[in-house]
């Protein structure tokens, strides 16, 4: 094979794309379809709870188009980080959707699932062996932290995906994988050089984001022995040297170097050249294999339960004296919680946010304009939902009637909803930012070749 063409229809499975973007990719000779289905970007809830950010109908809508295209063109479809966080439940959720679609469409495709969830026993054994290392700004890991996680996933590289493809899979549904591994696995398997492959994989990971019009369809990367060429699939969009090079900046700490399980992508010497007004040629990308293959961990744990309450202030006098109002709120609120529930500040925590004033940036905010109105959000966290709600309910009369210290009457503020309190359930935090030295690139991942679903 002289070149491998990777079709990336969108940056996120379930975000939507047009049928024409995929048709255009097939016309251009796509050899593989790669799509990312996950991210940590929306916060720790999805990994912590093992649930997806996307809705099933949106994922099914996108997958129906991709499965049909895969079958029609006879090319593999690779989905990474299934179910947002790549937990085993996320892989099974996407696999269930795929089973239904294959049955409905009468498609005969071999499906493999790759599980990336990690057990505390295995991780602590590796920890004791000195094979787990922190990444900045994290510190050394301890066994209790590992055991306290509701879910831990390892981010696979291309190797388990390649193994699933070699095992005969047409469709690979991977658990947590690096965004790039999803697009890199097939071209690497076909013998394309690692530098251009990983660089192209990074550029296509967000679909049309590397074009001049990120809201239109996907992109196609053609990787060969000396570099790669990138072009948008929407006829009205363009890739320019700047739009492509700028994508290396997106959501990366370092725009020149990116660590993968097998080594490091180095684009410091890469050149970006316009082939015409919508295609860009990239050459000079390097990949330095690492002495030690590593797998990065992601883990989340429950930090408590939250209840949220939201009211709004329009009264000019309170707006003009919002700092005094806030101070009085905190004083009366914490006093009433102690008085009625007998709780001191160690038993609960809260965050009072003044939207429209300084909620987003707090003390970093450079602006000092007076607000027209302020939305006051109270978030209360405690070890049980019942307790968090009890504390939030103590604040209810204050969020309705608290005056500023100099007011001689009780105002009535504008609650947004009834009831004012919303129970948010368990809340999570990310706790792992560590890598494991592997003994083989696939040892932390389990591949299952699924039986083809029975046709109706």
């Amino acid at each position: 094979m002289e070149a491998v063409r990777v079709l990336s229809p969108t940056g996120m499975l379930g975000a939507g794309f047009t049928q024409s973007t995929v048709d255009r990719g097939l016309e251009l000779g796509a050899d593989v379809i790669s799509v990312d289905a996950g991210s940590t970007d929306s916060g720790p809830h999805y990994l912590g709870s093992g649930t997806a950010k996307t809705t099933a109908a949106a994922v099914a809508r996108d997958l129906r188009i991709l499965l049909r295209a895969s079958a029609r063109a006879g090319i593999p479809l690779i989905v990474g980080s299934c179910g947002t966080s790549g937990t085993d439940s996320g892989v099974d959720w996407v696999a269930g959707i795929v089973d239904d679609l294959l049955r409905e469409e009468g498609l005969d495709l071999a499906v493999a699932t790759i599980y990336s969830e990690q057990q505390a026993g295995f991780l602590n054994e590796r920890l004791r062996a000195g094979a787990v290392h922190p990444l900045a700004p994290a510190t050394a890991l301890d066994e209790a932290t590992v055991e306290g996680c509701t879910h831990v996933v390892g981010m696979m590289g291309h190797e388990p995906i390649e193994e699933a493809l070699r095992g005969g899979a047409d469709v690979v549904l991977a658990g947590r994988a690096t965004d790039t591994a999803v697009a890199a696995a097939y071209p690497l398997m076909m013998g394309m050089p690692a530098g251009p492959v990983w660089h192209a994989a990074k550029i296509v990971e967000c679909g049309g984001q590397c074009t001049t019009n990120p809201r239109t369809g996907g992109v196609l990367a053609t990787i060969d022995q000396t570099g790669f060429t990138i072009e948008p699939l929407d006829p009205d969009a363009a890739c320019t040297p700047i739009s492509v090079a700028a994508h290396m900046l997106y959501e990366t700490v370092n725009p020149f170097r990116m660590r993968e399980p097998a080594g490091e992508l180095d684009v410091e010497a890469a050149t970006y050249t316009a082939l015409d007004d919508r295609r860009v040629r990239v050459e000079g990308s390097l990949f330095h294999p690492a002495a030690q293959h590593t797998v990065k961990l992601e883990g989340a744990r429950i930090t408590g339960y939250e209840t949220m309450s939201f009211t709004a202030i329009r009264d000019e006098h309170i707006l003009a004296n919002i700092e005094a109002w806030t101070d009085l709120f905190v004083e009366v609120f914490t006093g009433r919680v102690a008085q009625t529930l007998g709780l001191d500040g160690t038993r609960y925590s809260f965050d009072l946010r003044r939207y429209g004033y300084d909620a987003v940036l707090g003390e970093l905010d450079p602006a000092s304009r007076p607000p027209r109105e302020i939305g006051v959000m109270l978030l209360v966290r405690a070890q049980t939902q019942e307790l968090a709600t009890a504390v939030a309910k103590v604040a209810n009369p204050l969020m309705l009637h608290l005056p500023t210290p100099d007011m001689a009457y009780l105002p009535s503020l504008a609650f947004a909803t009834s009831p004012a309190e919303t129970e948010r359930g368990p809340v999570y935090e990310f706790v792992l930012h560590h890598v494991v030295d592997t003994r083989s690139p696939t040892e932390m991942f389990r591949i299952e070749h699924r039986k083809a679903p029975a046709h109706d």
């Binding site: 916060g43 809830h45 725009p255 940036l361 707090g362 970093l364 450079p366 999570y428 990310f430 930012h433």
Partner: protein, 104 residues
């Protein structure tokens, strides 16, 4: 532009911020031209430390003249999705940088 630029944001096509994973925030200033890029040379680790109340030694700055871009990364001061995280994607944290007045 009819008025003379007052802030770094005025020199830029775009100033943006975003998480780079759960533990880092990264931001980019896309300067309009070489002149703006040259003026942004004064943005230092200390500038960022002052604007964002983070230690200067944790700040990484990457300068990319080919794109007229200054890119800045530092560890997220507040854990993503935590009780005190008011910007889950860190997508609004470019504002103090964009609003920074240009030195006279």
């Amino acid at each position: 532009m009819t008025e003379s630029p007052q802030t770094f944001g005025d020199l830029a096509l775009e100033v943006r911020s975003k998480n780079a994973g759960p533990f880092w925030v990264t931001m980019e200033v896309f300067l309009r031209d070489e002149t703006g890029y040259a003026r942004a040379a004064v943005l230092s680790e200390e500038t960022i430390a002052r604007l964002y109340a983070v230690p200067a030694e944790d700040v990484q700055i990457f300068r990319i003249p080919a794109l007229n871009v200054v890119k800045i990364s530092f560890p997220r001061p507040v854990p993503q999705g935590g009780l005190r995280d008011r910007d889950v994607h860190a997508g609004q944290h470019h504002v103090p940088l964009a609003s920074l007045p240009l030195p006279g």
